[in-house]
Each structure stands twice: as C-alpha cells, then as structure tokens.
C-alpha cells in the first residue's frame, strides 16, 4: 500500500469531523486505487492525486459548509462586531487607564507613562478579544440553530440612509447610545454610592474611605436629575438611529437635551456639593487654611463649569455650520 496515498488521505481527513473521517478515508482510498492500475507505481499515484486536487480543497468539498458563519449571517455578524468592538475599545481604554493609574508601581515618571500606556493597551486588547469571541460564538449558535429559511417582513426593511450633508452614521449613533447607557449607569452608581468611591483615603492595609468628598444626600438627590438627563440623551440617540439624518424635530430635541444636560452639570457643580468635613480634613492634612482650600476647590469647579459650557457651545456652533444650514 502506497505511503503517498496514506499521507494524502490523512491530510484530507484531518480537516473533517471525527465521525466521518474513517468512512471518507476508506471511500477515498478505494476510489484512488481504482484510478491507478499498479499500486506500486508512484508516478501513476501522483497523477491520480493531482487529478483529485489539493487536500484542503477536497476536504472543503466534503464539508457541507465552508465557514463558521454562513454567508446568510455574515453581513449582520460584521455589523454587530463593528459596533461591539467600538464600544468595548472605548470602555477598555477608559477603565484600563483608570485601573493602571490606581496601581502605579514605577517610581520614575518615564516608567509611569510606560506602565500606564502598556497596561491600558493590554486591557483594551483583551476586552476587544473577548468581545470578538463572544460575538462570534453567538453568531455561530444563531447560524447553527437558527431558522435556515430567512423569514422576513416588508416592515423590517431599514430606511435607506440618504447620502446628504445631513446624514448621521447609524453605527456611530448605536455605539453612542450604548456607551451613553453604560457610562451613564456607572456615573449614577458612583453618585449613589459616592461615600464609597470618592473621598480622602486612609491607606492601612486596605483602602478605607475616611472622609467622602461629596455630601451624600446631595449626590443622591442628583441621581434622579442625571437619570432624567441620561434618558433624554438616550431618546435623542434613538431618534438619530431612526432618522439617520438631521431634521427640525431632531435638531430641537438635540438642542434641548444639550441645554438640559449643561444646566444639570452646572447646577450640580455649583451647589452644595463638597462636604464641609472634607475641606476641613484637607486643610488640616495639607496645612492650609479652610478658606484657602475652599477657594481652590471653587476655582477648580468653576473651571470645569466653564469648560463644559464652552465645549457645548462649540458643539452647537459646529453643528450649525456643518449640518443645520443645509436644512431647508
């Protein structure tokens, strides 16, 4: 029996499912042997094998379908993957940065930058990989177990996005919506438990919060207000996805949501946010007077207020110049 035939058959069957390896192998061997007159004539065997084609190609023909995800689902798969990776990338960068900043081991500035950069990068890559794996597994499951016939209704057909200067990318809007919801809920959570996460820390074996920065009652009150703001933003995103282009209704909603969220942030930052105990604590720890610390914090908060207002004004102006003046 020729070794070449064995090797060829092995190369084909190793690509097949366990239960069909033996049978396909036997049949292939029988067919190859029919094709040659003399089993010991290597030239003849080589010709027979070449006429069959490459083992990969043959194995592919034996398998009923060619990829993990059939063409029917490929488009949806790639689209979902794109959105999920954008969101996970953003989350990975933010959380990787926060996490690595909290646990800096290096003592020189260059080492710190190096460390933060690579830890953030590593964190982002690992979250992208797990996102890729999860989306792929879900689509393989849909592909294997879903309806083979693609049932659909006319009503399911999406609107054709008009390619004008007014168009809004649906992918961007979906990513924005999901990111807003995720970060929004994290923010609400942090606000609600602001006594646990934001404060003057005493390091004694574990991080123990000693003096919270914020007045807990105040931040808990604002959970509701920020919640409403978040809801409005989510609604605006939903309409962006629906229309996929700017129109007057969307513009009005967008401006209202912007103004509302700016007002909320400004009120939040200029109110009774910082706890008296925290200011007292900082002034004693850092040997400043109470009013010096209070002044410094006020300047800091007002700067943030200024930045928020300016950024949003710029956003609205650029929206006007890029999009709105094309509205007829």
């Amino acid at each position: 029996m020729s070794k070449l035939i064995d090797k060829y058959i092995y190369d084909v069957t190793r690509r097949l499912k366990e239960e069909e390896k033996e049978d396909v192998g036997n049949e292939l061997r029988a067919n190859i042997l029919e094709m040659v007159e003399d089993e010991n004539n290597e030239e003849e065997i080589k010709n027979a094998l070449y006429s069959l084609g490459s083992p990969r190609q043959i194995a592919n023909s034996y398998r009923n379908y060619k990829g993990l995800i059939s063409p029917m689902w490929m488009g949806d798969y790639l689209y979902t993957l794109k959105i999920v990776l954008i969101i996970l990338g953003a989350i990975g960068i933010v959380f990787g940065f926060i996490e690595s900043i909290q646990n800096i081991e290096s003592e020189v500035i260059f080492g710190t930058i190096f460390e933060v950069f690579f830890e953030t990068l590593g964190n982002t890559i690992s979250s992208l990989l797990s996102g890729f794996a999860i989306v792929t597994l879900i689509f393989i499951a849909i592909d294997r177990h879903g309806e083979k016939k693609d049932e659909w209704k006319i009503e399911d057909l999406p609107e054709i996005p008009k390619k004008t200067d007014l168009s809004i990318s649906r992918t961007g809007s979906i990513a924005g919506l999901v990111a807003t919801i995720i970060f929004g809920f994290i923010w609400l959570y942090v606000l609600y438990y602001s006594n646990l996460y934001l404060g003057w820390f005493e390091v004694g074996g574990e991080w123990v919060i000693d003096q919270s920065i914020f007045n807990l009652e105040y931040t808990r009150l604002f959970v509701i207000v920020f919640g409403v703001s978040l809801l409005i933003e989510a609604i605006v995103y939903a309409f962006k996805i629906k229309y996929a282009q700017w129109n007057y209704n969307l513009l009005i909603m967008y401006v209202i949501s912007k103004i509302f969220s700016v007002v909320v942030v400004v009120v939040f930052l200029t109110g009774d946010l910082i706890s008296v105990d925290f200011i007292t604590r900082v002034s004693t720890e850092l040997t400043f007077t109470y009013s010096e610390v209070e002044n410094f914090i006020n300047i800091f908060l007002r700067t943030i207020v200024g930045i928020v207002i300016v950024a949003n004004v710029i956003d609205l102006i650029s929206l006007y110049f890029k999009k709105i003046r094309y509205l007829k």
């Binding site: 029988a30 067919n31 042997l33 069959l52």
Partner: protein, 112 residues
C-alpha cells in the same frame, strides 16, 4: 472581461447542473470511479475531486443510498438513486427545462 472571470462563471453555472448529471446516471449501482468513467465516456466534464464529495453529500441529503461491498478483492462503496432522489431529479429536470425556455425566449427577444 478577463479569462479567469469567464472560467469561474462557467464553473458556477455548471455546479447546479452536476446534481442532475449524477442522479440521472445512478439508476444502477455504481462506485465513485466507475461513475466518473461513465460520465467521462459520455463527454460530461466533471472532476474526481468534485464528484466524490458530491456523491457523499447527495447521500447525506437522502437522494442516494449506499453500501460497502467487501466481498471482492477491492472494497467498493456502491451508490444508487433513492426513491426520494428520483422525485428530486424529476423536479430538477422540470426546472431545468423551464429555465432553458426562459433563457432562450429572453435571449431570442434581445437578439431580434
């Protein structure tokens, strides 16, 4: 259009018709190589690397039935068309005639 494109279009066009060729030749038991020779004798172009996997697939779809014959010196896997396969072949042939008529009609109109 380049030559490669024409070839791949031809392969694509042939792929669907090969099922009819194979089913129509399996009223009597044949094994892979004997069917290949039979088709080649009738000047039908199909490659061994296409034919063998195709036979197996048609079997898994219930259009062919198979059995191993180990009594002779060389073991052979024989295939034969199933009753369901005969029904399917009839349907496919009807469809083929319909497509043929449609193409001829539409091409004829354009060429007038």
């Amino acid at each position: 259009m380049s030559k490669v494109d024409i070839e791949s279009l031809k392969v694509e066009l042939r792929r669907g018709t090969q099922i009819m060729m194979v089913l129509s030749q399996l009223n009597n038991k044949e094994y892979g190589y004997s069917l290949l020779e039979k088709l080649i004798d009738k000047d039908l172009s199909i490659e061994a690397g296409t034919l063998y996997p195709l036979m197996r697939r048609l079997e898994s779809q219930g259009l062919l039935e198979s059995e191993w014959d180990t009594t002779s010196t060389r073991p052979r896997k024989y295939y034969e068309i199933s009753d369901f396969g005969k029904e399917v072949l009839d349907e496919l042939l009807k469809e083929w005639e319909k497509i043929n008529e449609e193409i001829m009609k539409i091409v004829g109109e354009t060429n007038e």
